[in-house]
């Protein structure tokens, strides 16, 4: 996923930025998203590349998740919960949700049994 950001203000006295972030392909103009203050002490300021990378890693996914959660979900896109044993034929035609960005976590394969 690609994101964009726009620094609205640099608060020199507290070394922070007021920044807006949204998805590159968002249909909402970045100026219409809400701005947040990010403490530059928490970012990598060695050069522009490091700054952008650390801002994206530290703040972008959280910002975008919050923006997405404020959006209504189209009725056609409302997912159903699916879990347990894989049955591909039963999944055909259904809208199922998964997490795209949580690369640190994989699902554990558990099996419920009756005793």
């Amino acid at each position: 996923m690609k994101a964009i950001f726009k620094i609205e203000e640099y608060l020199q006295d507290r070394n922070s930025i007021v920044v807006k972030i949204c998805r590159l392909h968002s249909h909402i103009p970045i100026d219409e998203t809400s701005a947040k203050i990010v403490d530059c002490e928490l970012l990598d300021l060695r050069d522009t590349d490091c700054f952008i990378d650390s801002l994206m890693k530290r703040s972008a996914s959280r910002f975008i998740e919050r923006q997405d959660e404020k959006q209504d979900i189209l009725d056609e896109n409302k997912p159903i919960e699916m879990s347990g044993e894989l049955d591909l034929p039963s999944m055909v035609g259904k809208v199922v949700m998964g997490k795209v960005d949580d690369w640190r976590k994989k699902p554990m394969s558990m099996r419920k049994i009756e005793l």
């Binding site: 640190r104 976590k105 994989k106 699902p107 554990m108 394969s109 558990m110 099996r111 419920k112 049994i113 009756e114 005793l115």
Partner: protein
Amino acid sequence: MSCQHYFKKLDNFSVCALKANKGVLEVEPDSESCAIYQYVFNGSAKIGRPFESEFFEVKTGDFFSMKDYLYTPRMYEALEDFYMFGFNIQNKDEDWHGRLLKDEALKVENESVIICLDGNPFINNKRLVQFDYADLSTDKTYDVELNEGVVALFTKV
């Protein structure tokens, strides 16, 4: 060196696992520190809170409570290649008691679940495999034959 987390939310609890190569240092933020019991499949590790001098060591086969570390940041240092299971609560106000089963006739009095952590134990003559789990009924008795496997019981307090 690599580190991989695993997670699964189930009806009344969640489970997780951490697999890390020797030498990996891994920090869990407080928001994710909801494992109250952990079991070490293999390897050894130091566990503590970041920036604190106190820590303890765990090794293959250890089953231990992490209730003192609930919702506080946790740091793990793998002393060997390390693989560990976690039993997680879903709400801050709930509590479960956990223990490993022996060969025994098991009867429970509160909401309980068993999880097969390793091997192929038999419960009521049913052969379990790793990560099978079952809700237990307070009306039944369960005959546990470990068969060199490992089964954990968690009972809601």
